[in-house]
């Protein structure tokens, strides 16, 4: 029973937690926080079990559940995982309790709402990664916006409303196009011989590649635009710095750690396998934007006076790596991209946690307010150093593994057909050292001259508990990435194989032949 419905249980736990939090009295702050952390922890434990039980060698979806929802349109509650979603599910359940624990003292106002929204956000995010039905996916995709909007808009900084609205509108603009594309896809399924309207992703995998190239291009662009905003890919990234800077720490951690990955996940799950012909055509352009993002994000990051904004822009650079890896369509590159999603969640999530800790003490994120604090808070400085080095991509820590595989994949990719993507992308490795080391130096090294910093307290026990799990995985992935790479190998290979077949003109999974000429379906 538990095994069969494990995914639904993981999905339901945060909702249940949110419901209980709602029922608790407002004054019971401790109970509210404990409930939130307890439920998210149980979800994490279950997902670890999922990770262990997952059969890495088996192709296709595992732990699948399917219940009809709107039978006439073949919409169903259809969830399952493969090697691509597994890691992201674990990352989500891992970061949520950490984010909640990190806000133990910093969120006091309207605590009930905060904890409940964080749990609902977890549910929405998990739903996105688990859905095997396009309609269900879309529901989760949109749903997730609402808690995030309120988390930024209510518990955020001074300009939280502007940031929240910007985040909301940017994302909505993209997802509306995706909705149209989903409806069209479902409709297209009814036009093939023996077909009917469906939003079942697994069925659509077989049908969609046969869409004529012209329309396939529009479909690809509609999906990819929506994902590109979420990632974000340059030049659609300007919502990100505002959202991050204004969001409370927990919001930033989840936003950077998990939400951005919904975009890159969407590319692997939908854009590439559904529309292979169009993807092959457009991927050099997407990869080019990714490379621009790597360099641009790093350069803009270098000159930020606000530590949190610096980390935010660095995400643009790091996610550029992920997109480049995916677009390389090599096993090395896509595997690297998958792992880099996790690594970025740990390193950038970790950096946001650390920035939040110093902000809680000094209520400023301006780099120039600090300087020389390594002597005052040595343990904090050491933790920051390790997480920073992970973000820099130092071999032996997690960031390097993904980055190396991505660049290697991009370098050997026959889909990209130019080594310049990798060579220019690799320059991001230099720039990452520039912006991170420079900011580290300005915050921690030198003489401690600002008297405001003289009484800074070093890490508390609670903060240790928040950071140590992150550090464990930073080192684990760096030294023994096999644990994680093995899980995603088969699924990655399938995606790559699918695109390679499409390039060779082999009708991969195109068993069904369209009866009407697709060109007439849309102008």
């Amino acid at each position: 029973m538990i095994t069969q419905n494990i995914l639904s249980i993981v999905l339901a736990l945060p909702v249940l937690g949110a419901a209980i939090v709602f029922l608790l009295p407002r004054q019971a702050a401790g109970a509210i926080k404990a409930t939130g952390i307890a439920f998210s922890l149980v979800a994490f434990v279950l997902s670890v079990w999922l990770f262990i039980a997952f059969d890495a060698a088996a192709p296709g979806m595992q732990f699948v559940e399917r219940v009809p929802w709107i039978p006439s349109l073949d919409v169903s509650y259809h969830i399952g995982i493969d090697g691509i979603s597994l890691l992201l599910v674990v990352l989500t359940t891992f970061l949520t309790p950490i984010a909640l624990l990190a806000s133990w003292d910093s969120v006091k106002d309207r605590l009930k709402g905060f904890v409940a929204l964080m749990l609902l956000l977890e549910m929405g995010t998990l739903g996105v990664f688990l859905s095997l039905d396009m309609f269900l996916f879309y529901v989760f995709w949109e749903f997730m916006l609402i808690p995030m909007y309120f988390i930024i808009g209510i518990w955020g900084g001074a300009e939280r409303v502007y940031a929240a609205v910007k985040f909301f509108l940017y994302t909505m603009a993209g997802s509306l196009l995706m909705l149209v594309a989903i409806i069209w896809l479902g409709y297209y399924a009814s036009t093939v011989e023996g077909g009917h309207f469906t939003t079942n992703l697994l069925t659509l995998y077989d049908i969609a590649p046969s869409i004529p190239f012209g329309i396939q291009s529009w479909m690809f662009l509609a999906f990819t635009l929506s994902f590109a905003i979420k990632v974000p890919i340059f030049p659609l990234h300007t919502w990100l710095p505002d959202a991050h800077v204004q969001a409370p720490t927990a919001g930033s951690v989840i936003l950077a750690g998990v939400l951005l990955k919904m975009g890159t996940y969407g590319l692997v799950r939908f854009s590439l396998p559904l529309f292979p012909a169009a993807a092959i055509e457009f991927l050099p352009y997407v990869a080019a934007l990714a490379v621009i993002g790597i360099i641009y994000g790093a350069l803009v990051s270098t000159v930020q006076p606000d530590l949190k904004k610096l980390v935010a822009y660095s995400s643009v650079s790091h996610l550029g790596f992920v997109v480049l890896g995916i677009m390389s369509l090599t096993e090395e590159g896509v595997q690297g991209g998958m792992l880099q999603m996790i690594s970025h969640g740990l390193s950038t999530g970790g950096l946001f946690l650390l920035v939040g800790m110093i902000y809680d003490r000094r209520h400023t994120r301006m780099i120039k307010e600090y300087g020389g604090i390594a002597r005052i808070v040595p343990v904090y400085a050491t933790m920051f150093m390790i997480v920073m080095l992970s973000s820099v991509g130092l071999p032996g820590l997690n960031g390097f593994v993904g980055e190396f595989l991505i660049l290697l994949g991009a370098f050997k990719s026959t889909f990209l057909a130019s080594r310049w993507y990798a060579v220019l992308g690799a320059s991001g490795v230099i720039l990452a050292a520039v912006y991170l080391l420079w900011s580290y130096q300005r915050v921690f090294f030198g003489k401690a001259e600002n008297p405001e910093n003289a009484k800074l307290k070093d890490l508390t026990v609670r903060e240790w508990v928040v950071l140590v799990p992150v550090l464990v995985f930073i080192v684990w992935i760096g030294i023994y990435p096999k644990t994680f790479l093995d899980k995603s190998a088969v699924a990655t290979k399938q995606v790559v194989q699918r695109l390679e077949d499409a390039r060779r003109g082999a009708p991969a999974g195109m068993a069904l032949v369209p009866v009407s000429n697709g060109k007439q379906l849309l102008p």
Partner: protein, 643 residues
Amino acid sequence: MTYELVPLAVLLPFIGFLINGLLGRLIKREAVIGAIGSAAVGIGFLIGLNVLFSMLAADPEHRTHVVELFPWISAGGLQTSIAYQIDPLSVVMLLIVTGVGFLIHVYAIGYMHGDPGFWRFFTYLNLFIFAMLNLILADNFLLMFLGWEGVGLCSYLLIGFWYDRNFEKGTTGDAAKKAFIVNRIGDFGFLIGMFLIFTTFGTLRFAPVFAQAEAFPVGAPIMLAITLALFVGATGKSAQIPLFVWLPDAMAGPTPVSALIHAATMVTAGVYMVARCSLLYALAPATMTVVAVIGASTALFAATIGLVQNDIKKVLAYSTVSQLGYMFLAMGVGAFTAGIFHVMTHAFFKALLFLGAGSVIHAMHEEQDIQKMGGLKSHVPITYRTFLLASLAIAGIFPFSGFFSKDEILWKAFAGGHIVLWAMGLFGAILTAFYMFRLVSLTFDGEPRWAHGKHPHEAPATMTVPLMVLAFLSVFGGVLGIPAALGGGNAIEQWLEPVFRPALDKLPHEGHASHVLEYTLMIVSVGVALGGILVARRWYRSTTGVPEGIAARFPVIHRVLVNKYFVDEAYDAVVVNPIQKGSERILWKGIDVGVIDWLVNASARFVAYLSRTVRVVQTGVAQGYALAFVLGVVAILGWLLVH
């Protein structure tokens, strides 16, 4: 069993790093912390010796062993492991790193006494040894890269060790950051090199890469690309033109660090990497020329700067850059053994020079300006004598160790027909002898130029004993490479022969040069070195006014040399400032805020304007909305169905 112990030699410094790093603050006692740190390295040296003896007992063709621990990064076609390759080359490096490393650890117990960061210092030092051993023992390029970046990190941490101190125009933090970033520029080349190797050979392991490379013709373009990319990495790590700028600033770190990392071991990693890939380089003659020219140019260029520096560590830093140039000259002319031999002798005498300088700085209460020293000979006798021996060794005086290794390089350059490179090297040797004895004379000879309040005293035994051991090695280390012309067996050449044989087979064979010519050149180089020494002693032993007179006659040259050819200033103006200003003004405030966000906000305003206009339809009657909604859905579905 012997070879299986090698991973332990790698692991021990890591354990030392963990113990001192996690518990050092609690242990507090310097003796315990220092003993843990030193033992972790010293045991590695014993393991290395044991391996050496087993190898000596084995047949020369069967001295290579690979010990595989566990798989590391594997995806798609890439399979890499944490695996160590033990062969005659890596065991030589293992012994240098752990041997010299051990002595410097012991020295540091005395040198760092009383420093509040004592435990942190030994933590970083052990981490460095761990990374360095990965670098030299790796059986594949990726693990080598782990060590390569790891030593860079430790260098960064140790240069910035006294992170709240000022250094020159900035802080130690500036110097540390500069070292890491310049090294990363080199690492970029290393990365590209690895990508090329993987796409060419389908693996990053040394053995299969080199086995496949045998099939490539000499001059194959891909070999040119691979070796040039890797060499970019080497110029960063080993401080060659154009990426040498970080090493002089690296002197901001404590002096044992300068001795260990920035003289004896880490900076020779680039030389080691070229030696390890000697076959690939031999297949790319054009790269060999580039390596030789960069090496000879750096040797000469850095030596000229060393002539006029007044900071005792700065002189030694430029001297290191210069000596590394000789090693690359050796690589470039195909004298791989001579290059590694010079790595070894240089590790002895340059470590000694730095440690001696540390002893002097210690005695002078943190003074580093040699203009404010003088007459220290009698106050620090052990330091003086050992420093003098090391200076004779680096100057290339017979029969000190430096003579054999440097002369071997110059001889191979000459015998290979590279007369210009040989002449550059020879001229560099004169300058070396000159600046070293300028340093010796200004520091130890003549009248004291320091304030009367100071009472210079000799360092404790933990510091002087390592000095004496290194002095012994600096004097006698040359016996390992006495050339046949002098009746020696050139033991090191025979030892490394199996490693370099594949590369040497690809190189054009030089004609057999006569011993008479070799003797002549030896006499020439020792003669000019002696000349350099004598001039320096005459000018600087007491205040003669001669150097000042020369400086006054050639003010432009003097100014250029004192300011190190203004290379730092040029890099700032051409690279650093444009990137910084451009990122801020054009990218961030221009494109991000000015263009993209303006468009986003403008479209939001446009929508707001439209909404105000169409607000009239917003009646607030829900039924009206529902009707409009249903009509809309019907219209869309109808349209889709009709078409």
